[in-house]
Amino acid sequence: MKNLFALFGSLLLALGIILALNNNTLFPSFGEADLTERVSGEYLTQDEIDALGSANIVTSIVVGYRGFDTLGEVTVLFISSLGVALLLGTSAKQKRLELNFKPNFMLRVGSRALFGFILLTGIYIILHGHLTPGGGFPGGVMIASAILLLYLADDQFRAKIKGFKILESISGSLYVIVGLLGMLLATYFLQNFLPVGTAGDLLSAGVIPVIYILIGLKVGSEISGIIDNFLTEEEAK
């Protein structure tokens, strides 16, 4: 009864929001957004595309115009992986979580083979982030999921977490340092200081691919760390 009441109330809230948005004269109705009245209209002009040199406009916004957000986003992942390690990895002695099934030989070898392919796909997605959909975040998670595959296929496997920590730390620091370099070599924090090239080439968009590679490495190592923390447990006493 209480649940039904809550459901009814929530749906009423949704109705209220929808009605408020419908009566809102300034709110564009679905599918009729006018880009010329928004900032994004300017992102799509030829001058701006040439200035950044990235064929994927979403990438040029994520890493270029709103690169500072992305730095914050990386920080969110960083701190949550830090927190997961703090909460789940309290004691020094950690062992693998036992799986309910015993992986056989074929599974082990097959997953090793697949590991390479997934890793390559991840790297491809990161490198082509400024040309095609994708980029550092999905690419980094793909790399991490390749490592996850190894974890699932082999119940003895444990990645070298210390190495991940160092990789995470270095790539994160390099991101900030790239930003500071922009301040030194150009004028502003995170400003592009490399030649831009023409939009559409692999070697274009200046500093954007560099940042995406750093993000990919950082996200990959952070997510791997989180996965490791979830798949290990304290040594039974």
Partner: protein, 81 residues
């Protein structure tokens, strides 16, 4: 055409969301969440957002689901002991 597909996907989204919230077993709820995320990927593709679709497919329905499952797995083991 767009409207018909969006109607079908929309209804499916709502039904699955409702099932995910109200299902009794936790593992079922997690799987419904994964399906919901996958359906939202279709919606993202329809609304011409390939970047978001890739990210949501990899992160939302892949990584998050596995994290949920791992949490449940580690706990199941404790129950049997």
């Amino acid at each position: 055409m767009f409207d018909i597909i969006s109607l079908v996907i929309g209804v499916l989204l709502l039904v699955i969301a409702f099932l995910a919230i109200n299902s009794k077993k936790l593992i079922q709820a997690v799987l419904f969440l994964s399906a919901l995320s996958m359906l939202s990927v279709v919606a993202f593709v329809m609304m011409k957002a390939p970047d978001v679709a890739i990210t949501e497919a990899v992160i939302g329905s892949g990584l998050v689901t596995s994290l949920f499952v791992f949490t449940l797995l580690s706990v199941r083991k404790g129950e049997t002991k």
